[in-house]
């Protein structure tokens, strides 16, 4: 491996000594900055990020909790997540103000959640979607920049892209997905040889250069400013640690093993089929993550204007949301709601699959942040002023899970900003016009 160990240890020794003189408070910072995962070994577990999309929203009065904070209430349509409630956060009352743009049914909402911007006449996305921004930060060196999946068989079903007309197309067949990940080109992370990133080597050399001057500086500064310099260099040392971690061959990934080939499935939008191919894709994705083949993913369960149907029936989920009249006694559309129940079951399967994989002192889910959302609140009227959203996992301890957060009508872009910051994207404000915000969601920041 391309590194001179003796030199590094020597350097460590010297600084280790110096660091002690800095005093206790700083030591805490070591842990806070890098989160739980890194605190364990000097060497970070990979942190992953992904999205899970479903179309046509919810029946808001039957889905959104009412009690903010932990142990939130579970209305009937949210009930399926009960088994993992403590690892799933729910977000309500986050608005999509569209000033300057029309509410394009089934399009504007999802695009706004992903980009913090309102879609105009162009198709595609009004800006870069945050999963791509996060990918640039955490996914650049893994084999796949990201894995984009669609369980309904529509490759164009995607909300991920750099903006403008182009969208990252989705993989629609579990069989293809298998060969893409585990077919030719698959490198077993536990056997593959390791070559560090030249850019990181270069940055590392800058820092070590800077650090070497520490002693001459400390000799030269007065007590008042010495404390400041001490801390400055302690902090610098932290950065070095992170780079060292990136330059060192990673710990073996115990959970990683190559799964069995998967059967080919008919690719269509019949809910029973979609559930199955969603499960197959999920299992493959989970292994791709455990084997660190990718650190970013997008799973589209169904599409915005959902073409889901039931076997033997041809009327689509989307048609139902519009044609089926609200049942005045129930206050919702029973037929359309059937699909929502299936969607929530699928979501639970997805999160559970991630949580089953042990990793470090926790699970794969703990080292991941999954963001689930829809494109409308109440599909019948295309309302987008209360987007249904969830988060699962803690991104290695950077995010608190198991909460209900009431956005009090503030812009949905706060959610994207919070996640990007948690994933280490240097960004202090995000979104455009009424959706521009610098307010993260403090409740969930660890």
């Amino acid at each position: 491996m391309a590194y001179d160990l003796n030199r590094r240890t020597a350097l460590r020794g010297m600084l280790g000594g110096a660091a002690v003189t800095v005093g206790v408070p700083l030591l805490d910072c070591f842990l806070d900055v890098n989160g739980k995962a890194m605190a364990a070994t000097g060497n970070a577990m990979p942190i992953r990020f992904g999205t899970w999309f479903w179309g046509l929203g919810v029946n808001p009065t039957r889905w959104f909790p009412t009690k903010p904070g932990r142990n939130y209430d579970l209305p009937p349509e949210l009930a399926p997540i009960a088994p993992l409630q403590n690892k799933i956060s729910v977000f309500g009352n986050f608005n999509v103000p569209l000033d300057g743009a029309p509410n394009l049914p089934h399009v504007s909402g999802g695009a706004a959640v992903r980009t913090g911007r309102a879609l105009t006449a162009e198709r595609g996305l009004p800006g870069e979607s945050f999963d791509v921004t996060i990918g640039d930060r955490i996914g650049s060196r893994s084999r796949f920049a990201s894995l984009d999946l669609s369980a309904t068989g529509d490759p164009r079903n995607s909300l991920s892209g750099r903006g403008g007309g182009n969208l990252n197309p989705s993989e629609i067949s579990a069989a293809n997905l298998y060969s893409r990940i585990f077919g030719t080109g698959f490198k077993d992370p536990n056997s593959a040889s390791f070559t560090p990133d030249p850019q990181v080597i270069a940055r590392r050399s800058v820092l070590s250069g800077v650090t070497e001057q520490r002693q001459s500086l400390e000799r030269a500064v007065g007590a008042g400013d010495k404390a400041k310099l001490d801390q400055y260099f302690t902090s610098l040392r932290q950065l070095e640690n992170q780079l060292d971690a990136e330059l060192t061959k990673p710990e073996p990934l115990q959970a990683c093993m190559v799964p069995r080939k998967v059967p080919g499935l008919p690719v269509n939008a019949e809910i029973e089929n979609v559930m199955m191919s969603h499960e197959l894709m999920t299992d493959l994705l989970v292994m791709a993550l455990a084997c660190d083949q990718t650190r970013v993913f997008n799973m589209m369960f169904n599409n915005g204007a959902s073409s889901l149907t039931r076997i033997g029936s041809t009327i689509t989920h989307h048609q139902l949301t519009h044609e089926e009249v609200l049942d005045p006694k129930l206050g919702y559309q029973p037929e359309a709601t059937y699909f929502l129940t299936k969607i929530m079951e699928a979501w639970l399967y997805f999160v559970t699959a991630l949580d089953k994989v042990k990793e470090g002192d926790g699970t794969l889910l703990d080292n991941t942040l999954v963001f689930a959302h829809s494109e409308t609140a109440f599909a019948k009227f295309h309302t987008i002023d209360c987007m249904p959203m969830m988060m699962a996992g803690t991104a290695g301890g950077k995010i608190k899970s198991g909460l209900y957060v009431d956005g009090a009508g503030s812009p949905v872009s706060r959610v994207g900003l919070t996640m990007m910051q948690a994933m280490g994207v240097p960004m202090d404000r995000w979104g455009a016009k009424s959706m521009e915000t610098n307010k993260t969601i403090g409740e969930i920041m660890a």
Binding site: P102, I315, T383, D406, A408, S410
Partner: protein, 393 residues
């Protein structure tokens, strides 16, 4: 804008379909909403006689109850097709295993020769007219005052609070559509949908009164009824906040109707005139990207607005709409309107034609307009008329 209106909106929406309604959902349509002004004390108008309002409710009023449509709602294309079948065939096609065949069959009814379809070219399809409202009660105004020469024969309604000679043929023709009223006869999707649409700020209307000397009686008042591009400010319950400024639109679609009116016993009534309001889509400047304009076009129209003690206005607008206007939207939607929303544009147009009662063409003697009514509520606001805007710094 801080607002928790969503859950309440829908909560209320659901309730509205069951019992009464509250929050952002349409107010239950009680007589005093637009009936005669009961005796009560009204505040004095401002010294300059100028009063502004923002319209918070704009929807076709219905009188709830099952008696209006005893045979049930107007069937969608699918149901209409099934109903048209002989019993045996109906039984066969509605079996689960034949659903795909049924779907194709009823969808075929939406298509005609060389690519025409029932909504883009309604004229080319011959469809039965709709079930119409059977009850004698409806909201509206007596537009022809019983003796107009340019109307066609039509029945009239009586309002729930006893006003007679009410012309509202649009209600008669379309009042049994599911969008207007549910199976159970209560307010349909329109009631919630239109409110949601206005609350979203996509289309905001304002009313500006000039020369008001008394809210009780004033022989002459100028009424400006117009669009504004400004979004309403709404509280947590979905109610419009008073005292917000709105500027009347200076660029297209600019609709600014100037009407003459008078106040009698706390009720403002305008003289018959044309009222045109272009519907806008999307909030802010870049509206209506679809390149098509929806215009609410009321001829010989009148506003009847009641001053409320809390300073707000309640009332309605009534007039004659060009007979094809109500189906413009699904017509533009083309086949999709028929296939997905199940709308029978041809049947709807035929029904509207049949009940047309105004705008008689002196040559043909045919009526090209249909009497119609919108419910209106408005809350006090500051209105900048087009000549009152100043450049920002």
């Amino acid at each position: 804008m801080i607002s928790q209106r969503m859950p309440k909106l829908l909560a209320a929406g659901a309730i509205a379909l069951g019992a009464g309604s509250m929050g952002a959902a349409p107010q239950p349509f009680t007589p005093q909403a637009i009936g005669d002004a009961p005796a009560r004390s009204l505040p004095a108008p401002p010294a300059d006689g100028v009063m502004g309002f923002v319209v918070s409710d704009f929807v076709q009023p219905i009188v709830e109850g099952k008696d209006a449509c005893p045979d049930g709602p107007v069937p969608k294309l699918r149901e209409a097709y099934i109903a048209s079948l002989p019993a045996a065939e109906r039984e066969r096609l509605t079996r689960k295993e034949n659903e795909a065949e049924l779907l194709r069959a009823w969808q075929m009814t939406a298509f005609g020769k060389n690519g025409t379809n029932i909504c883009s070219q309604p004229e080319m399809f011959d469809r039965p007219t709709f079930r119409t409202v059977q009850s004698k009660v409806a909201w509206g105004l007596d537009l022809d005052e019983g003796n107009a020469t340019d109307t066609c024969a039509h029945d009239t309604f009586t309002t729930p609070n006893g006003q007679t000679g009410i012309d509202n043929q649009e209600y008669r023709a379309l009042g049994c559509k599911l969008e207007w009223r549910t199976k159970d006869g209560v307010g349909g999707d329109n009631q919630i949908g239109m409110k949601q649409f206005h609350n979203s700020g996509e289309w905001t209307q304002v009313i500006l009164l000039r020369g008001v000397d008394s809210l009780e009686n004033d022989p002459s008042v100028e009424v400006v009824y117009a669009n504004t591009p400004d979004r309403p400010m709404i509280d947590a319950k979905g109610n419009y906040l008073p005292g917000i400024t709105y500027s009347i639109s200076t660029k297209p679609p600019r609709e600014r109707n100037v009407l003459k009116g008078r106040i009698v016993g706390g009720v403002l009534m305008t003289d018959p005139g044309d009222i045109k309001l272009t519907q806008t889509w999307g909030q802010g400047g870049a509206r209506d990207i679809r390149g098509n304009r929806a215009r609410w076009d009321y001829r010989k129209a009148r506003l009847r607005l009641e001053f409320q003690p809390d300073g707000s206005l309640k009332g309605m607008m009534a007039g004659y709409r060009p007979v094809a206007d109500p189906i413009i939207s699904p017509a533009l939607g083309g086949a999709g309107s028929a296939l997905v929303a199940g709308i029978d544009c041809a049947g709807e147009l035929a029904t509207l034609r049949k009940y047309a009662d105004g705008l008689k063409d002196p040559k043909t003697g045919k009526c090209n307009g249909i009497s119609a009514t919108q419910r209106i509520s408005a809350v006090p606001a500051y209105i900048n008329d087009i000549n009152q805007r100043r450049a920002s710094r």
